[in-house]
Symmetry: C2
């Protein structure tokens, strides 16, 4: 085994061929496991590979095969300025890491690389789709943050294999993996009603984004079914701070509140803080149900009763779906919906 030295030209197929005493084509065939090769040469070639320390050049290979062995995770932001404080919050959230972990768990097994792309401008989207069509990656997993996002449509039009995590904002024939958000919100509502809460409110995310609006509608529907045709609501933006101020707002308008469904755990953490400040005990005075079952839920005091969102599993499924679509671009468009479950802990 050769020790790599700086500056030394790397061995190419040609070098291996010379050492093995065969043609470049034969070496290529052996390496790619083509059947029609003399078993004897097979061994000779592999020896030469070991001797030279040859490693295939992925770029040269991709140029001709039009396959890269890479998929990209695209975080599609809305029009963003160069200085984007939101992005740093996004990355620090458990959400991002859970998705990456789930993707990696299946991609790794297939020897597929993961690249990370952030795009937030019209120009950025055009370049991205162009690069993708050029074979920059074999396919993409899209994490779309804005309520309405032109990217999914562009990808589909461009023939780029794509899978979204979370349903697209507008109707686009694209594969996606999602959670039954309405069901999750229903579970939360029923749990609060079941423990006898009389005045139940909700802290939601931005009303425009699909995941958020689904949780709102699911919650409203179930509450209505139980005689609560109207429920007090306040909107946050999924951050802890926004949850805290939403809770204050809610409390100010409805001092008799005894139960709150919060659309994600991070905001629930903020709500807990606001309630403590207001001198309300959780769950005795006010019961809280979060959403996500993130690490924040068990870290909270009291531990959050929450709705489990199997993000890792969903991301893994998205990866599988993507690999399948890459393999067969003609595959019919499909979606996989995961069922949430209520995780009872101390807060409700």
């Amino acid at each position: 085994m050769q020790r790599g030295r700086v500056g030394e030209r790397l061995p190419t197929l040609e070098d291996v061929a010379r050492v093995a005493g065969v043609s470049r084509a034969t070496v290529s065939r052996v390496i790619n496991g083509i059947r029609n090769v003399d078993p004897q040469l097979h061994e000779v070639v592999w020896n030469a590979v070991g001797q030279t320390g040859y490693v295939p050049n992925r770029m040269a290979r991709s140029l001709v095969t039009r396959r890269t062995g890479t998929v990209a995770l695209i975080v599609s932001d809305s029009e963003s300025h160069d200085d984007d404080p939101f992005m740093s919050r996004f990355f620090a959230d458990p959400y991002f890491g859970r998705v990456v972990g789930g993707l990696m768990s299946v991609l790794r097994r297939s020897g597929v690389q993961l690249a990370l792309q952030i795009v937030g401008t019209e120009d950025g989207r055009r370049r991205l789709v162009g690069d993708l069509r050029n074979g920059q990656a074999d396919g993409v997993v899209v994490l779309s943050l804005p309520a309405v996002d032109p990217l999914p449509g562009m990808l589909v039009d461009g023939g780029v294999p794509a899978v979204m995590i979370g349903r697209p904002g507008d109707a686009v024939p694209v594969d996606y993996v999602d959670l039954a958000n309405e069901t999750g919100a229903s579970l939360a509502a029923e749990h609060l009603l079941g423990r006898g809460c009389q005045q139940i409110g909700m802290i939601s995310g931005p009303a425009e984004v699909p995941a958020s609006s689904d949780r709102i509608s699911g919650f409203r529907r179930t509450m209505a079914r139980h005689g609560h045709g109207w429920v007090p609501m306040a909107a946050g933006n999924f951050t802890q701070d926004s949850g805290e101020s939403a809770m204050r707002t809610l409390l100010a308008g409805h001092p008799d509140l005894d139960g709150v469904f919060v659309a994600n755990d991070l905001m629930a953490l903020g709500a807990l803080l606001a309630l403590r400040d207001a001198g309300r005990a959780v769950p005795d005075d006010v019961a809280i149900v979060g959403f996500d079952d993130s690490s924040a839920a068990v870290a909270a005091t009291p531990a959050l009763t929450t709705v489990r969102h199997p993000l890792e599993d969903m991301a893994a499924e998205a990866a599988r779906l993507l690999l399948a679509r890459i393999d067969d671009p003609a595959m019919r468009v499909s979606s996989v919906i995961y069922e949430p479950a209520l995780v009872p802990r101390q807060s409700a």
Copy 2:
């Protein structure tokens, strides 16, 4: 502007050249901003580019320039089995996301892509270094988890521009960005001593990893300087669960404990739980100081007094350092050490 159609062959330089009525070489020059071009042609060419919807093929370009415009974030794990529950924990930690966010904040500005690589086997390392030397990425940022890791040395030997986040376990001439972990531990010790704690213990990370051992030695040294030549310790592995059980162990052996320095916030969260179970009030009975100032610190109850670890800034600096080294491989090996600061909150 052309609307991309599936299957349609993408325009190449040749196509643009034909439309513009010039040679391929000229188009290339215009696109790459070479000076020696007739301003008139300049415009003609750009029009042709717009008309055809041309996007340069990065792979073909990289093949000849040996530059990819990509850097890789390598998570170097110790020998890992295919099924790696640790990895999913790692990604779910705020740590990973903060690093990615910091890196992206500077890479984005330079139009550099980020790729993600996980490697944990000897074979994986060899392939990785081979790919890297082949120009798979222009350079790498290394997050090395194991105590002793052959990867940094391999990268240096291979002439791969690399920057580590956290100092290397063994002496390797590689750039790195690190935190003054000893100083941070000292600050924690002094804070606990300053508030009058008499029996102070520590919950550490794995003793072999550099960041962890530095925190241990810094803590011990400062305690010794104040007359505490020996301090009770228990080791965890940076997870919340391990912090909880380490706290129980510590408490069992030293019931009179009134102060604990915990080597990261996640474990501190676990310690808080164990203390609550044991009926000890924080900070009145036992004061707790964490480490990292992660989002977990403010989410905790009581909010954690902790040591600020400016990971985003450090990752951003690592990215800058890497870009500089890529630009000038002969640059002398350098390291940047960040100073931690104590962030006082409720827990101590």
